[in-house]
């Protein structure tokens, strides 16, 4: 049983007009096996929360803490956080020209596992995971995210989630840009991984659509850089009906 704990997190970004505070005291605890939906309007700081936990250099932590089983994640380098068990499925996965998916996956797996995966079992492992996500085997030879459709990029993120087996996954707007079929495939992938592991999930989304496929245990409403309301799955139904208006004007 692992715990990801975010306490009173304040984060700023540097702009031309000076530092601007985006996160204003976020508190959240996620335990293994739990799925937490973070829902909020555009610009509320949801993605900033995701990238700050992963360690993107653009975001400056001004106070608060993020700990993984008591260990200070904010003190870790980006790669160390991944090794410790954090995974960020990005809204806009980055193209890396000339680096093949197969080389990338193997390099990442080697880093995370601390040793190169055995060639014989690894090839099968990748093939199986790709097949489960309806991915063409030729995909492995393409450059990372280069020329991928929106759906391919998201499937590639979930493929990594499956192969790297983190303790906690942050899914940042994984549903954006997906048609119904792709959303179903990606969601099934997440549910399959969740069903076979003790993965804790932070599911960041603007819409309730993905919650029909991935059932949250907890729903948190995010507005103006903080969690402003918390509840169970029924809170999502309320948001579906009434939107975020009351949180924005509040």
């Amino acid at each position: 049983m692992s715990t990801l704990e975010i306490k009173n997190l304040h984060v700023s970004v540097t702009t031309e007009a000076g530092d601007k505070e985006i996160l204003r005291g976020v508190d959240l605890v996620i335990k293994s096996g739990e799925t937490h939906a973070i829902m909020g309007p555009n610009g509320s700081g949801k993605s900033t929360l995701a990238y700050s936990i992963a360690g993107h250099p653009k975001y400056k932590i001004t106070s608060g803490s993020v700990t993984l089983d008591g260990a200070d994640a904010l003190e870790m380098r980006v790669d160390e956080r991944a090794k410790a068990g954090l995974f960020l499925a990005m809204q806009y996965p980055v193209e890396v020209p000339g680096v093949s998916v197969t080389n990338f996956l193997r390099t990442a797996a080697t880093a995370i596992r601390g040793e190169a995966p055995k060639v014989r079992t690894w090839v099968g492992e990748v093939k199986e995971a790709m097949a489960a996500l309806n991915m063409d085997p030729n995909f492995a030879e393409r450059s990372v995210n280069e020329g991928f459709s929106g759906g391919e990029k998201k499937r590639h993120e979930i493929l990594q989630l499956e192969l790297l087996k983190p303790k906690f996954a942050i899914l940042d707007e994984t549903d954006s840009g997906l048609d119904v079929d792709a959303l179903r495939i990606v969601s099934e992938g997440v549910n399959r991984i969740k069903g076979s592991s003790d993965l804790g999930i932070m599911l960041i989304t603007h819409y309730t659509r993905i919650l029909r496929y991935i059932k949250p245990d907890f729903v948190h409403v995010f507005a103006a850089g903080r969690i402003v309301e918390e509840g169970g799955p029924e809170l999502a139904d309320k948001l579906e009906e009434k939107g975020y208006a009351e949180y924005i004007t509040a």
């Binding site: 993107h56 980006v78 991944a82 980055v94 890396v96 990338f104 990442a108 880093a111 995370i112």
Partner: protein, 360 residues
């Protein structure tokens, strides 16, 4: 020092020489220094359909004209020419390998002429290593329907000064593909240039260079579209790192009035990995006819993409490995044209090494 009237050494103010450190050329353009006439490229074995002969320059003169001062000096100094001939209709699947490994580094002048006879197909690899002071004039004559792939590797030692011209005259329906790799050397200035002698012909000029501390690596393309319906593609990629690392890429493309149906595109991309390095990139396109298929160019110079590095690191990949992956990926498109796993990996390891020199 007195100059003969038929040869005027450049002063550095001339457009073609304005980027070049003339004080580091070890006498190659200095008329008071005598250039030894050498045939320093050698083949240890030759595939069937290929012959090499050393001929007198007076019997086998140049096939193209030039105004490049270094090439003119070679033509003055070189008594002989290494003549490589690919026989008519020969399908040479095995690569022709010419090597040079100079140890002593006396100023030398070398002429090479490669004749690809009609409908022949071949691949020539030139591997340059050691420390040389070399002025070189290589010409390629491609007869009708021939294909010649050139892979030219500059894996020089740190003292080398290399001024070289690689000029192709491409015949009707012939194809010239060149891949130039320049990693070593103190000063390297290469002129990959092309003219066409028949329609339907095609040239692809690809290259990569990686300059570190104090290296000057210069590549000056010149593509002369002087016939109708010919095609050219230029794609050079460079990386620079360390104090006073310097690269120059010039891409001159001329589309003459007669060259209707021309299709050309040239691209140069540079990655500046540290402060203190400088990349010059100058594409030039001159068009005398509008009746063309396409003509374009692009040039970019940027730094490491932090988002790429973050993406890789967020998957557990340590920063140094991530940088290596990104650089290898950047050059992959060029290196993969070599189609020889041993050479490709050898070059990638050298590229890793160049990167490590500066990052650590």
């Amino acid at each position: 020092m007195s100059l003969p009237t038929n040869y005027l050494a450049p002063s550095g103010r001339e457009e073609p020489w304005r980027f070049t450190p003339l004080n580091r050329l070890a006498g190659l353009l200095d008329t008071s220094v005598e250039l030894a006439s050498t045939n320093s490229l050698y083949a240890s074995a030759l595939p069937a359909g290929v012959s090499i002969e050393i001929k007198k320059s007076s019997d086998l003169g140049p096939i193209s004209s030039t105004t490049d001062e270094a090439t003119l000096r070679v033509r003055q100094a070189a008594q002989e020419v290494t003549h490589v001939v690919i026989a008519e209709n020969a399908e040479v699947s095995e690569r022709i390998v010419l090597k040079r490994n100079t140890a002593d580094g006396q100023p030398e002048a070398t002429r090479v002429l490669e004749t690809a006879e009609a409908n022949s197909h071949s691949t020539l690899i030139i591997e340059n290593a050691g420390n040389a002071i070399l002025a070189e004039d290589i010409e390629f004559s491609l007869a009708t329907g021939s294909t010649l792939n050139l892979i030219c590797l500059q894996e020089w030692g740190p003292k080398t000064v290399h001024l070289g011209r690689q000029h192709a005259v491409i015949g009707k329906d012939a194809t010239f593909n060149s891949t130039v790799v320049t990693i070593g050397g103190s000063v390297v200035r290469l002129l990959p240039t092309v003219e066409y002698s028949g329609p339907g012909s095609s040239a692809e000029l690809s290259g990569l260079y990686f300059a570190t501390d104090g290296q000057h690596l210069e590549h000056r393309m010149h593509v002369d579209h002087n016939v109708p319906n010919a095609k050219s593609r230029v794609n050079y990629k460079g990386a620079l790192a360390g104090d006073k690392a310097r690269t120059v890429w010039i891409g001159d493309v001329y589309i003459r009035a007669a060259a209707e149906g021309t299709d050309t595109y040239e691209l140069n991309r540079n990655l500046l990995l540290t402060d203190g390095a400088r990349a010059d990139s100058v594409p030039n396109l001159e068009i005398e006819t509008g009746e063309i298929v396409g003509a374009g160019h692009a040039s970019t110079t940027g730094r490491f993409d932090d988002e790429q590095l973050f993406y890789l690191e967020s998957r557990g990949i340590p920063a140094d490995v991530a940088r290596r992956l990104v650089i290898r990926g950047f050059f992959q498109e060029i290196v993969s044209k070599i189609k020889d796993e041993v050479i490709e990996e050898r070059l990638m390891v050298q590229i890793d090494g160049e990167l490590e020199k500066v990052v650590s």
